[in-house]
């Protein structure tokens, strides 16, 4: 089931639907320092290797990415589906493909993390009415650095940035320096993030030394909802007033070319959304829908029969299902019934079977 020879994503096609392929452990820390769902990370640790199932939505995404024309404005793909149907995993699959192809990957693990549970909110120095989030920004910059090491020295800045009276970054310096500065100077890290995004946007479609830019955002509906953060006078903060959110929205607008934007909706971390909502219209809200429009929706469904078979055999193979009854036909039928072929429910079921 685990075809480690197929770690080259380029070879994947419909024949491999439902089969697992291994991600080499060296890639894990570089490509996915912060992207994977926590339960999957635990699974990787238990099994000592990371196997991802090849599924229809991910293949569709990859085929679109292969065929897209990169001189036109960016195409936006939206993965949506019921809770636990594998949207984040499909996103990570696509991200892995992109990084294999040599693209620059901008992976934001969960946009909801930026609109809730923030301890420090600094008023921004650059713009009076906006707020900064130093911790989240510096964390993200650190992870960005691990993901895209080799790009940092190649890309040169096209503009001069002034941070404080004494510090400034000159034109022509490598991007890596900017990122390092953002990581070390926590106070201005949100502005650094904004600068990085702007630079990448300008240089993505460029003809000299051009690279492709993939923006992967998980939980994109967090950018347009409400936040749980409050200002000092207890009035709620709108998402536009956060620097990170503002800059990210500029990225998602398709006014640049030479890359792709892949996003997932997520109900689990979303604020003030009913738990039965999973369609783009419900979760994005009017504002979000208008800004994401036009996009290519990619529905992620529950496991089909074949995929369920494959997952079940994978668990058996890894001796994850210890109970003797689970290895019989009846046990399999029970599993199908109890989980209704929902990947996350199945995983939770099998965890203590």
């Amino acid at each position: 089931r685990c075809l480690s020879g197929l770690s080259k994503n380029a070879c994947q096609s419909e024949q491999h639907l439902g089969q697992y392929y291994t991600v080499p452990p060296s890639h894990f820390h570089t490509v996915f320092p912060h992207g994977l769902p926590p339960r999957y990370q635990q699974q990787v640790k238990s099994f000592n290797e990371g196997c991802v199932m090849v599924r229809q939505p991910a293949l569709e995404l990859i085929s679109h990415l292969k065929r897209a024309d990169y001189s036109k404005p960016t195409l936006r793909y939206l993965l949506y589906g019921v809770k636990g149907s594998g949207k984040t995993m499909s996103l990570c699959h696509a991200v892995h493909y992109c990084s294999k192809q040599g693209w620059l990957v901008l992976h934001i693990p969960d946009a909801h993390l930026w609109v809730k549970n923030c301890k420090e909110l600094l008023p921004s120095s650059y713009h009076a009415s906006r707020f900064d989030q130093p911790i989240q920004a510096s964390n993200w910059l650190r992870n960005f650095r691990t993901t895209n090491e080799h790009f940092l020295s190649k890309i040169k800045l096209r503009q001069r940035y002034v941070w404080t009276k004494r510090e400034s970054t000159e034109e022509g310096r490598p991007l890596g320096e900017l990122v390092d500065m953002g990581v070390s100077r926590v106070k201005s890290s949100s502005d650094v993030v904004g600068a990085v995004l702007k630079e990448l946007r300008l240089q993505a479609g460029g003809t000299e030394g051009g690279f492709r830019l993939a923006v992967a955002v998980d939980g994109v509906n967090g950018l347009w909802g409400r936040t749980t953060l409050k200002k000092e006078d207890k009035s709620p903060v709108a998402p536009e007033e956060l620097t990170l959110v503002h800059n990210l929205r500029k990225m998602i607008n398709n006014d640049w070319c030479g890359g792709a934007v892949i996003a997932t909706l997520s109900q689990t971390g979303s604020l003030y959304a009913p738990s039965s909502a999973y369609l783009p219209q419900e979760l994005l809200g009017e504002e979000g829908f208008d800004s994401m429009d036009p996009f290519i929706p990619v529905p992620v469904s529950l496991y089909s029969e074949k995929e369920f078979e494959s997952c079940y055999l994978y668990y058996l193979d890894r001796h994850w299902l210890q109970h003797p009854h689970s290895q019989t036909e009846e046990g399999k039928k029970e599993l199908i019934f109890l989980s209704n072929r929902n990947p996350s429910v199945l995983e939770r079921l099998c965890a203590f079977l």
Partner: protein
Amino acid sequence: KFSEEFIKKQVEEFNIGKRHLANMMGEDPETFTQGDINRSIAYLFPSGLFDKKAKPLMKHPDEVFPKQRAVQWGADGRPFHFLFYTGKQSYYSLMHVSTGRWLLKEELEELLVETISEHDYARFIQLMERLLSLPYCSVEEDFVQRYRRQLEIQSSKQQVQPLQYDQHGVAYSTGDGRRKTATGTVLLRDSGSGSISINGTNYVHYFPVLQDREQLMFPLHFMEVLGRFDMQCSVSGGGHSSQAGALRLAISRAMLSFLSEGQVETMRQAGLLTPDPRIKERKKPGQEGARRKFTWKKR
């Protein structure tokens, strides 16, 4: 204490020992009686003890080991006899042997076409019992039998509704169940894929708790028809556990029309068809809850 295999092994050993003893004494193994055995043992192992029971002994295991009953329960721990838990099952089953029952007061009135008061009826029953207790009552047995009826031994008096067929010829049936203020109705459709929708939503989203989904699974899994039916359920009232219980009853009742008599009986014995009578107990005055008393203060 002594299992059947153990007793069997002892019997084999005794027989083999008997033949060895016969060989040793030079006698014929086939015609070696118990008396011969006793004499040979007394000869081979002379004992100076006086107590007969203390002397060496070789007897058939049936005489040595006390007679005991075979194991009264099956592999799952469920006892075979229905009176097992009284302690003296054979005695009480003997006591309970009843050939029938006396006529009820209404039935007697019907037979005699006259009104009978309670005292009259009680006197009639008294006289019939006295008649039976006298010797030679078998002479008047015909007369007595006219006033006795057989007990109905039917244990499953379920009304099984017939299957209904909708357009496309798919068989379906409905069932409803109640448990502790929750009511549920189920529409079971045959030749489905095992999909269940409750109040319009998927059951995985309606019952996030595993225990509730297992309750739903129980009747189907018991009859091993897991992937056969499609279900449309509607449920209201109560909490999530009682809703799951109500749906379980409804599913088992709806399944009755698809199953045979023997399967209906097994379902009834599994307790799938009995409505759960437990409800919330009333709160009494002077106590904080139904059972909980107020904190007792010594002074």
